[in-house]
Symmetry: none
DNA sequence: CAGATCGGTGAATCTAGGG
DNA sequence: ACCCTAGATTCACCGATCT
C-alpha cells in the first residue's frame, strides 16, 4: 500500500512529472513503487510515405521521439530507462512493457539481462488493426506485452480469481482481444486530429491493473503520453506517477484525468460482450487435415463436383475460387452458401462440410 | 528451385542428417536453401549440452549469477546455430523460428544482431493449451514465431493471395489459431508415451509453407525432432533437409515421412497474384484493334474523359501521357492504376479496359 | 426516426523492374 | 548507385449525413 509516512519518503502521487524519464526516476526513492507500466518508443523504421489503395495517405508515426540511430542506440536507451525503473521498484513489484516486433525482442532480452524474471508474455490481439495495404506481409494484428517480476522467486501480485471472473469462470489466457483506441475515447487536439499517435485503449490497462495490482497501489508510467495509465488507475482506486517529456501531452493527460471519478468498490463489474459466431475460413479445414488437398467435394444435389486445392480454394469445370464462388458459378446463381452446398464422402455417406465448421466453432467457443 | 546439377553442389535432399546441427550445416554449401524452419530447445538450463563460452565451471552460486551464466550460454548456442543457418540460406531465402517467452526474446534479438530483417512476428494461439495448474499466472496459451529475411531489402517469398484464400478472402493476420498436436497425429513411442515433448501440429507448418515457399523449394530444419517439417514439406511437394541428433527421433521421423504421399500437382496450385502475370502494355490493345485511336475512354466514376492516341497514350483536359499518368493527373492523386480507372463503351455499357488485358493474358497463357 | 450510405482512419520496418 | 514508370493494393469500426 502507498502511504506517505515519515518512514516512507514522499512520492509525488497522482501527478505528472516532466523532463527525461531517467532523471525523473532517479529523483525518486528506491524500492517504492508497486508496478511499472512502460510503453516505450517502438523504434519503427519508416521508409517513405504510405498510401492506401484509395490513394489517401496514412498518418504514420514519424515523431522525433521514435527515432533512433541504430539498434545499439536503442539498446542503450532501453538499458538506461529500465535500470532506473528497476531501482525504484519494490522487491515484490512487477513491470509490464508493451511493444511490437521492432523493439520487443530487445526489450525482453534486456529485461532478462537485468535480472527481471518473466512471468508471462501477453498478446494483445487487435480486432481492428490497420491492414497491410501493399499485400506484402501478414496484417500486423497484435502487440506483445511482457510481464516480469523484479527477480526470480519474488512474491508478485496476481489476482487470479478476479481474472478468472473477468473471463467468465475459466482461467485467463495469455492472449487478450481488444479493439484499438478509436471513437470518443481517442483524445483529439484543438485541430481535431488525434492528439497522440499511439494512445492505448483503456480496456487493456483495466485488465492489466485488475490482474497485477491492488487498490491503493502505486503505478509508475515513465512514458505517460496522454495518460491512459493514470486515467484507469484513478478509476480503479490506484495511485499513479506519470513521467512525460512533452508539455502538450502532460496538459492533455492532466485534463483527462481530472474528469475521471474513482469507481465505488462494488462497481468493478465485468463487461461481458456476447459475440457472434466466429467466422471460420474454409482453408482451416484443409490446414487441419479435416479435408485434404486433391479431395473431391460434391454438391448436395449430386450434380456437381470440385477439387480442393492446398490454399482452400476449389477448382473444377473450368472455374476456380472460394467454396462460395464455385458453387455460385455451377448453379449460375449470383451467390451461394458454400458451407451448405458442398459435401464430402465419409464411410460411404455424404456429409456437409458445415459439420466440420461446427467442430472448429465448438473448440473456439472456449476461447475469448 | 532445388536441382542437383554440376553447377549447384549436391544437397542431401529429403534426408535426415545426424549429429550436431552446426557441424551438419557447416557441411552444406553456402546460399543453397530456400527456407529454414527452426524450433530450437527452449530450456535455458542446458548446461550439459551447451558449450560454455569461457569454459568456466558452474557450481553453486547465487541465483542471479547463475541466471546470467545460463542466459549467456543460451545466447552463445543461439548465435552459433543461427550463424551456420545464415550461411547456407540463399540471399532471398527466409527463416522462421518458433519459441516461447523463455527464449524468443533472445532469439529475436540475435536474429536482428546477425542482420536478419524481421518481416512479421506471428502468434500461434492454442485452442487447447495446458492450463496453469497452480493459478499463479496466466494460462500460457500461445507461442511466438518470427519470420525474417536474410537481410533488409531481400526479395522474400510471400504468397499473399494464397493466404488470403486460406482466410476466405481477407488478409491473413499475424495471429494464427490451431489446436496443439494431439490424437492420432501425435507420435507415440513403443511404450505408448508421446514420442517427443514438443511435436508441432502439421496445420501450423502447412500454413507456413504455403505462405513462404513454392513447390520444389528446399526447407532445412536444424532441430528436426519427429519430422513435422519433413512430413508437411513432402505432402506439399517441397524438399526438406532435416538435422536431428537423437537416433530415436530420426528413426520415427523417417518412418513417418515414408508414409506421406505428395499431393497431385493440381491440388498444389494456389491462387496467384496479379503481380506474377505477364505485363501487357496498353499500346497492345490499340495495335490489336481492340481499341481504336481517337476513341474516347471514361473514368469509372464518369467524371472524366480522354482520347486514345495511336501510340497508346491518352490526351484530354490539357494532359498527355500514359493511362496511369492521365488518370493520376485527373484525380490529383500521386498514382493511379489506369487499367481499372478507364472504361470504354460497348453496346451501351461501360466496360473496364482491364477486361481487354485479361483477354490478351488468356491467349498468352495458352501458348505455354 | 430508423436504416442505409459514405467518408475517415489506425504503432507500418508496405513494390518491382528497367535504364 | 539513382531515377523513373508501371501498376498493384485495404479491414473493421465509428460517426456524420442522407433517405
Amino acid at each position: 500500500m502507498a502511504r506517505n509516512t515519515p518512514e516512507a519518503p514522499v512520492l509525488p502521487l497522482d501527478t505528472i512529472m516532466s523532463g527525461d524519464c531517467v532523471a525523473a526516476m532517479d529523483s525518486l526513492p528506491e524500492n517504492s513503487v508497486d508496478l511499472i507500466f512502460a510503453d516505450p518508443p517502438y523504434n519503427l523504421q519508416l521508409r517513405g510515405e504510405l498510401h492506401r489503395p484509395d490513394n489517401s495517405m496514412v498518418d504514420a508515426v514519424d515523431d522525433h521521439w521514435d527515432q533512433f540511430e541504430s539498434l545499439k542506440a536503442y539498446d542503450h536507451f532501453t538499458s538506461r530507462w529500465m535500470k532506473a525503473a528497476r531501482r525504484i521498484l519494490k522487491p515484490d513489484g512487477a513491470i509490464w512493457v508493451i511493444g511490437s516486433y521492432h523493439n520487443i525482442f530487445r526489450v525482453g532480452a534486456t529485461l532478462q539481462d537485468q535480472g527481471f524474471w518473466i512471468l508471462n508474455d501477453v498478446v494483445w490481439r487487435k480486432t481492428n488493426p490497420m491492414p497491410n495495404f501493399r499485400g506484402m506481409r501478414l496484417t500486423n494484428a497484435h502487440e506483445t506485452m511482457i510481464w516480469a517480476s523484479k527477480s526470480e522467486g519474488a512474491k508478485y501480485t496476481f489476482n487470479y480469481e478476479a481474472l478468472k471472473a473477468l473471463n467468465e469462470g475459466t482461467q485467463m489466457r495469455s492472449d487478450w482481444t481488444f479493439p484499438i483506441c478509436t471513437g470518443h475515447e481517442r483524445l483529439k487536439n484543438e485541430r481535431g486530429e488525434k492528439a497522440h499517435p499511439t494512445q492505448k485503449p483503456e480496456a487493456l490497462l483495466h485488465r492489466l491493473l485488475i490482474a497485477t495490482t491492488n487498490p491503493g497501489d502505486v503505478i509508475l508510467d515513465p512514458f505517460f503520453g496522454t495518460g491512459t495509465t493514470g486515467a484507469v488507475a484513478t478509476m480503479l482506486g490506484r495511485h499513479f506517477i506519470g513521467i512525460e517529456r512533452e508539455e502538450e501531452y502532460r496538459q492533455l493527460a492532466a485534463e483527462r484525468i481530472a474528469k475521471v471519478r474513482t469507481l465505488p468498490k462494488d462497481a468493478l463489474q465485468t463487461t461481458t460482450s456476447k459475440r457472434a459466431e466466429p467466422r471460420v475460413p474454409f482453408g482451416q479445414l484443409v490446414e487441419r487435415g479435416m479435408l485434404r488437398p486433391g479431395e473431391e467435394l460434391q454438391s448436395g444435389n449430386g450434380r456437381h463436383r470440385a477439387k480442393i486445392r492446398a490454399d482452400g480454394t476449389l477448382t473444377g469445370e473450368g472455374v476456380k475460387g472460394s467454396i462460395h464462388q464455385v458453387g455460385a458459378a455451377y448453379e449460375g446463381a449470383p451467390s451461394c452458401n458454400g458451407w451448405t452446398y458442398w459435401h464430402f464422402k465419409r464411410e460411404g455417406k455424404s456429409v456437409s462440410i458445415d459439420t466440420l465448421r461446427q467442430q472448429i466453432r465448438d473448440e473456439m467457443s472456449k476461447l475469448n
